[in-house]
Amino acid sequence: MNPKYEALFTPFKIGEVEIPNRIVQCSMGGTTLFGWLEPSHFDLEGADFLLKRAKDGVGLVLPGMQVIRDTMGRKWLDSNRQMYRVLKPYMDEYHKTGSKLFIQLAGGFGRSMAVTPWMAALGRNDLLNKLASPIVDVQYACASASATPNRWADNLTSRPFTVEEIQEMVWHFGATAKKLREAGIDGVEIHAVHEGYNLDQFAIANMNFRTDQYGGSLENRLRFATEIVQSIHEQAGDDFPVSLRYSVRSCTKGWRKGAMPYEEFEEFGRDLTESEKAVKILQDAGYAFLNCDNGTYDAWYWAHPPQYMPDNCNLEDVEHIRKFIDIPVACAGRMDPVKAAEEIAAGRLDAVAIARQNLVDEHWVTKIKEGREDEIRPCIRCHNGCFNFSKAAGTENMQSLGDSLHLGRCALNPPTMQHNRYKIVPTKRPKKVAVIGGGVGGMESALVLKKRGHEPVIFEKDSELGGLFLTASAMTFKENDKDLLRWYRDEIKRYNIEVRYNTEVNDLGTLRRGFDEIVVCTGSVPRTMPQIKGFEKTMNFTDLLRDRKIEDDKLQTVVFLGGGQSSCEAAYDMVYNFKKHPIIVEYGNDLVAAQATCLANTSFLRDAMEYHKVPVYLHSTVTEIGDGYCIIKTPDGEFRQECDAVVNGIGFVPAPVGDKGPHIHRVGDCVAIGNLRTVIWRAWDVCMRI
């Protein structure tokens, strides 16, 4: 092992429980032991995933959050006796790994509940909500400290919890912890005075207008959280360790408004000064560990940082509040293991909390231990498979039902949390397979085929592998994407897969004689709109990003036709890194209004455009493009915009080679335009069956 990681592999204590190393797997929605949205039960898929993480060497595993009362069915978590009976032998098996496991118990979502359209309809109507309440009580699920607006749905307001409801919940935290301890669980983590969840809504003055013992002073606002730890110690024992998921700062400017990492602003939520006092109160109440980051649902990109956020984005704040307490502290949020090891060695931090990397590569800890860190598949923080709650102006949570039921999967690694669906089964009939196109779809297909025992050959028209992802990863802040591309190229070499570069295949017939199967992964080409006068003058993303016209001094003002993710990312790169002047023209009512893209990612881009004062024209289009100008048509009329270029950001269309037929398969954007998840999952879907 490289000595720079050594500090990560030293033990530490939470209360009386010794954790074998400093690596904490943060809780991720969906990776639960007792089910996610379903009525609570022992979840075999989650159990398999968590055991694998322990076997890989994670010191402390925190399964996905478990609401103390089921959202569906409304049973208390301590009521299902069968579940705890099954848990006991599982924990016996789990403890053989040496890893420790704390269950994260949640006090609900409150105004952050990611309501879908049907839930919002129930929540807004007292009668419908009452009728549905034996199955799902949306008004209870959204109940909060006070009447506050829902993060996801317009015109939906949380109702305040009654004191009786709070105290009932507090008691059940204790009862559940007792049962968990009896079943062999090592501790619990309370979720959360963190990220704007329910307990955080009680803790934040601007979200809590109560006048009873749960509102007013900081001590009162933290009373719910402090009573929970006391109830747990009363029922499960004083020595049962209780961690708290905690946001040091809210980084929130107002309802649904987050702050950029480099922004000076007035804090709407909890600021650093209040946090210094809060952590002392929480420690004195009995919490034995603080698992920290920043943010709220209104500033979601702090708690779920996309690629646009800097590495270790929460570290400075977390290390600051650690000075005010004696209990150990972990930091989460794009943590770099090398930096974390340095901080732990220097005594400024106790543990590193890492979440999504555990989904992408199930052997990443082992690879570090064995000095094979170059083989770690990197997380690109896309949230497309694990956490794709999405929202645009006027919508509720747009996530598909299938995704709502299965959080915690991975766009880049399909077997994660679906190990029975996606697996490498050696083939009994090895075949020679031509893979046309060396983009991500082609490389993933070739890897799956090779691992199964086939003999794939990649035909790539360019002189390097990567395809359209070479353009997508070209932006300054896309270091993770570039790492992923490097990882793919290394894997292709490591598996000794033949690549024929500079070989464009236009006719599949030429390959039929030499190969048993053909997998077409030829991707997509930019969509065109010839009805726009002068459209042929537009620049595409490859010109701008991969061919680095973005660096050209002559290119100062650029109009993006289309306000999707690619346009917004390129515009952000232009304005933030190159100090240029992008303008976005979008036909719809919001930027990045895509169903599959997480609100953490999209809200960063929207907030960034606002902060950097990028002109954004919604419900608008470009009607004419000329030399040095374009005509923009808005609802208020047309105007001439001087510009150095217009970038075609209206999307892509599939570009398959050849016809469909027996033994010819298609993977990736040449089937339908999607994202890395659709490309990679389909590569597995197809190549597992060849």
């Binding site: 379903e38 009525p39 039960h41 069915g73 299902n80 069968q82 299938g402 298609r666 879907d685 069956r689």
Partner: protein, 68 residues
């Protein structure tokens, strides 16, 4: 006698259905279905069946949670 016959029929039907379900899960059968149906139809059908399966598990878990 009629009841015994009905029960026998039910058990037989359940057994056959379970056998077909288990057989359909075998990789060889899946590969054959993939070839016969074509990848688009096969993958679409698979997605829909999974969603139906997920939704069917809700009432099952719901009832299980109510059991003592």
């Amino acid at each position: 006698m009629k009841l015994i016959k009905k029960l026998f029929g039910l058990v037989l039907f359940g057994g056959i259905a379970y056998g077909v379900y288990k057989m359909a899960q075998r990789d060889e059968v899946q590969e054959t279905l993939f070839e016969l149906l074509g990848e688009d139809t096969y993958l679409e059908a698979q997605d829909k069946l999974r969603l139906v399966g997920d939704l069917l598990m809700w009432p099952v878990d719901f009832v299980r949670a109510l059991l003592p």
